[in-house]
């Protein structure tokens, strides 16, 4: 169905899939922990976008409320994640994930 003139929900879903996969690509491609983390945020935003589009499609507000919860969780995750990153940096003076290889086997 058309959410906007000539724009269907599939357009939005396609955009959201594109952003999600770009985020996944960034996670696999980058070595800097902070950028990898930002790519996860990009993936979460892709999810949010698809939820808002579905919310418009189904005519309910619950998906928009779910987006609030995703934001809440993202904020909490960022707080903890950056604290872990800072600690990591304090101990090994880099955020390059290539050095995270103390354990093997």
């Amino acid at each position: 169905m058309e959410l906007l003139p000539n724009i269907t929900v599939n357009h939005y879903l396609g955009l959201s899939v594109l952003l999600f996969c770009l985020g996944a690509f960034g996670v696999l491609y980058k070595r800097n922990a902070i950028i990898m983390f930002m790519c996860v945020e990009l993936m979460l935003n892709a999810v949010n976008l698809s939820l808002v589009a579905f919310s418009k499609m189904w005519g309910g507000t619950d998906a928009q409320v779910f987006v609030f919860f995703i934001m809440v969780v993202a904020a909490a995750e960022v707080a903890v994640g950056l604290a872990i990153l800072m600690m990591l940096y304090r101990n090994q003076h880099t955020t390059d994930t290539d050095v995270l290889n103390k354990m093997k086997g």
Partner: protein, 165 residues
């Protein structure tokens, strides 16, 4: 007509800046491009009648989360270009995996049937309607989000404070 062009413009902007996040060598540029992505996503929310969500999105993501990122990038002094150490093999693998995932999902949504339900009334994204849903249907998750925040707060403080000896 105008909304259609706006959609394509915002989509292009979002995808372009998402690419730029990944491809720029300087972490500060990545942060700034990510903020641009978030702004274009907020534009989409406006188009989809989720006005309040768009405002909250900008405040939370661009205003709080990305500032935190920028702060950490600056504090760790990472604003020089990082040396490229990713091997060609890892790059290829990453591109391949993400590409396959995308192809599969595009194939899925191309086949996805169009939903029949009625669209959202124009004012559904207002504070009033969202508030009713949030504080009536989703009251319990709302309360539990406080537990989540308390846990995250205790954890972040625990990790950041100096070791007591």
């Amino acid at each position: 007509m105008l909304t259609e062009y706006t959609f394509w413009f915002l989509s292009f902007l979002a995808v372009f800046s998402a690419f730029a996040v990944i491809l720029s060598r300087n972490p500060v540029h990545s942060v700034l491009y990510l903020i641009l992505t978030f702004f274009s996503i907020a534009g989409h929310y406006f188009l989809l009648n989720a006005q309040f969500l768009a405002a909250v999105h900008i405040i939370v993501y661009a205003g709080a989360i990305m500032v935190l990122f920028l702060y950490v990038v600056m504090m760790l002094n990472l604003n020089q270009a990082e040396p490229q150490r990713t091997s060609a093999w890892a790059k290829f693998l990453g591109a391949g995996a993400a590409g396959i995932l995308m192809l599969v999902m595009i194939a899925v949504i191309r086949k996805a049937e169009q939903g029949t339900p009625a669209g959202l009334p124009v004012n559904a994204g207002t504070v009033e309607n969202l508030g009713i849903t949030l504080y009536r249907d989703f009251l319990l998750p709302f309360e539990l989000a406080s537990v989540l925040f308390l846990g995250a707060m205790v954890g972040a403080v625990y990790l950041s404070k100096k070791e007591i000896t």
